[in-house]
């Protein structure tokens, strides 16, 4: 069915797609044959949490995988869960937690599909311990437009597994996946919240925490300037040793049913939000034991929070820079943002560890990652991101395709030196707006 309402989480690009929503794995082959005929090819999509255009295929076809959400098998002894690729991580956790298991890697929202988590090789607050999601994929089923289907494992030496992990859905449709999960003894998290005054303090706390805490992340006040530049709140935690293995009924605020008007999001509200966050960080400073939901997924409590940014949508900008450049580059980016007055509600800073990412296009690498969101104000927002690009490039860093809707092709290719090798594994019947921008 043709549809105008396929949007990514950033809601900037509005385009027309031919949409199919299969209910059964046995329907995929026929949909692939049909959908890859057109000039713009096909792309499998999930819960549309990618921010930019990597999950969009304007004027082409998309296969919405979210109805393929069935569990296939679970082996508690081998810790292997196999499920259809459209299953959300929310559902995965509902299956795992009561059995005493957890996702080894989870991004900041549980409303992504397994297929999406693989195609973007997502990371979490425990990257320094466990690496990316793709490191835990033991097997996956991939359907290609030539009618073939392959069962791929990490030992695959054709390059198809390594290009499918983090491959932005361009190597075919991931029909199902088997992931290794990890044991937990409690659904609760032991959490510590530590306010910090500047970037040096952040790096000190991060260095000290990485050895003893499985999960670390910080929120940065990107409106702060001068001596307060880089102040924020550090959060670190571990799975609690004891406690119930129950799914907390998540506290759910009503979804945003509409796009908020432009005037709601302005300097004053961002300042107010940041002040509140600071205050809340100081208030909560110290230790606490809390359910896993609010620790991992604070934003999931507000359905459709992206609509807060109004009808023009938002851009995310997530970079990673190598350790040696981390301090200077992070400082330079915060200075540029504060100078532009384009504050971000949620600026998130985290150090990545040295676990190699398995995908040819995987984003995470050793260093420091900064994630920002900006309301789309057109030219001024794009100009700010260009200034940030220059800092990231100079530092030898790169940007996260799952968040991107505007990266210059040259910057993508420099950041991902494997892109040429990757492109040989791209299924000729598959495409996306992102790929047409940067890869072709």
């Amino acid at each position: 069915m043709p549809s105008d309402d396929v949007l990514s989480w950033g809601r900037v690009l509005r385009a027309r797609h031919a949409v199919a929503r299969p209910q059964w794995r046995d329907e995929l082959a026929a949909l692939l044959a049909e959908g890859t005929e057109g000039g713009h090819g096909l792309l499998a999509i999930g819960l549309r949490r990618s921010y930019g255009d990597s999950g969009l295929n304007p004027d082409g076809a998309v296969v919405d995988m979210t109805a393929l959400d069935r569990a296939i098998a679970f082996d508690p002894a081998k810790r292997l869960l196999r499920a259809e690729a459209g299953m959300s991580l929310d559902t995965v956790l509902k299956l795992l937690v009561p059995r005493g298991f957890f996702l080894p890697v989870t991004p900041g929202t549980r409303f992504v599909t397994l297929g999406g988590a693989i195609a973007n090789d997502v990371h979490g607050k425990n990257h320094h311990r466990t690496g990316t999601f793709g490191r835990w994929v033991r097997r996956l089923g991939l359907l290609r437009s030539d009618g073939s289907s392959a069962e791929l494992a990490p030992d695959d030496d054709s390059g198809l597994f390594a290009s499918t992990i983090g491959g932005l859905g361009l190597t075919g449709v991931i029909a199902w996946a088997e992931v290794e999960v990890m044991p937990i003894t409690s659904a609760l998290m032991d959490v510590q919240t530590i306010p910090f005054g500047d970037l040096d303090e952040f790096f000190a706390i991060a260095a000290e925490s990485d050895g003893t805490f499985d999960y670390t992340v910080a929120w940065i006040d990107c409106l702060a300037t001068g001596s307060a530049l880089g102040s924020g709140v550090f959060s670190r935690g571990n799975h609690a040793a004891s406690g119930p293995l129950t799914i907390e009924k998540a506290r759910q605020w009503p979804s945003l049913p509409i796009d908020l008007p432009r005037f709601v999001f302005n300097g004053a509200t961002v300042r107010a939000f940041n002040a509140l966050y600071h205050w809340n960080g100081r208030r909560k400073a110290g230790r606490a034991t809390i359910p896993y939901g609010p620790f991992f997924y604070p934003l999931d409590a507000i359905g459709g929070w992206n609509r807060m940014y109004g009808k023009h949508g938002l851009y995310q900008y997530q970079s990673v820079v190598p350790p040696e450049a981390a301090r200077d580059a992070t400082r330079a980016m915060l200075v540029a943002i504060a100078a532009a007055g384009e504050g971000s509600f949620l600026a998130v800073l985290k150090t990545f560890g040295d676990k190699p990412s398995p995908g040819m296009l995987s984003f995470p690498m050793l260093g420091t990652t900064l994630a920002l969101d900006f309301a789309n104000r057109g030219a001024s927002t794009l100009a700010l991101m260009e200034r940030l690009d220059a800092i990231v490039r100079e530092s030898g860093g790169r940007l996260y395709p799952a968040k991107d809707g505007r990266i210059p092709p040259e910057m993508f290719r420099i950041g991902y030196p494997n892109w040429g090798n990757f492109s040989r594994h791209v299924d000729p019947g598959f495409s996306s707006s992102f790929w047409r921008r940067v890869g072709l």
């Binding site: 069915m1 309402d5 929503r21 209910q23 794995r25 069935r70 569990a71 296939i72 098998a73």
Partner: protein
């Protein structure tokens, strides 16, 4: 809790089965396609079902329904709830000119469904307890040019259930017809726009189906507001109704 689902691959049946699975129920899934039934059964077991068995059967054929259903009950070791959820929408315009197609619609949506319904009713009557829930449709409440062949069959099924519920009034077993409005399922794939308040998700209808097995009257609308919309539509005089394109 032992549950038999006739037409287990339908979207509403699958969503309802997940609710039963979360309660730890034992399920028998009946339908035509073995592989699809097996995929559902695997999923339900991991979602908490104490048991999920499958039986392959083309339900459009209700010959020997009583003996076959007795076999289902024996497989499961008893039965508490039965959900009859299969049906086909068919293309109204084509069916108007193609008697074979119209007849197939009647066979699937009424004749065979009625056969199974009567067989289930006998079984529940004998054990003096249990719930039979069948999926009807708001299309059965008043014939409309858009879908009266489908609607006529669903109207027949609803009347049958009302009668069985009347027969059981004040006694143990329950018979309920759940009448959904438009639902976003493969059955309605191809409808121009499936957005807005009139369109329900299968999960919404499933929650109503699950509740209907335990309590409430013999005719349940899903969601509830269709009761009042359909009341108005039924009460409209033909002079007005005929001018509406609904």
């Amino acid at each position: 809790m032992k549950v038999i689902i006739l037409g287990a691959t339908s979207a509403i049946a699958q969503a309802t089965a997940r609710l039963y699975a979360a309660e730890g129920a034992e399920l028998l899934l009946v339908g035509r396609q073995a592989e699809r039934l097996a995929a559902i059964a695997d999923d339900l077991r991991l979602r908490g079902a104490a048991r999920a068995d499958t039986a392959v059967r083309d339900l459009a054929d209700s010959g020997d329904a009583a003996a076959t259903f007795a076999g289902f009950v024996e497989t499961l070791g008893g039965v508490d709830h039965v959900l009859l959820a299969y049906g086909i929408l068919g293309d109204q315009k084509t069916a108007e000119r193609d008697p074979a197609l119209a007849e197939r619609g009647f066979r699937v949506n009424f004749i065979s469904s009625a056969g199974w319904t009567l067989a289930v009713a006998e079984a529940l009557e004998q054990q003096r307890r249990g719930s039979l829930v069948v999926l009807g449709s708001v299309a059965g409440d008043r014939g409309r040019r858009a879908n009266y062949i489908y609607g006529a069959a669903k109207a027949g099924l609803a009347t049958l259930i009302e009668g069985i519920a009347h027969r059981w009034a004040g006694r143990g077993p329950r018979a309920v017809v759940v009448k959904p409005g438009p639902v976003i399922t493969p059955m309605t794939e191809g409808f121009a726009s499936r957005k807005g308040l009139m369109w329900a998700a299968p999960e919404t209808v499933a929650a109503i189906v699950r509740r209907a097995a335990d309590r409430g009257g013999p005719v349940v609308y899903a969601p509830w507001f269709w009761r009042w919309i359909m009341l108005i539509i039924r009460l409209l005089p033909a002079s007005i109704f005929n001018r509406l394109d609904i």
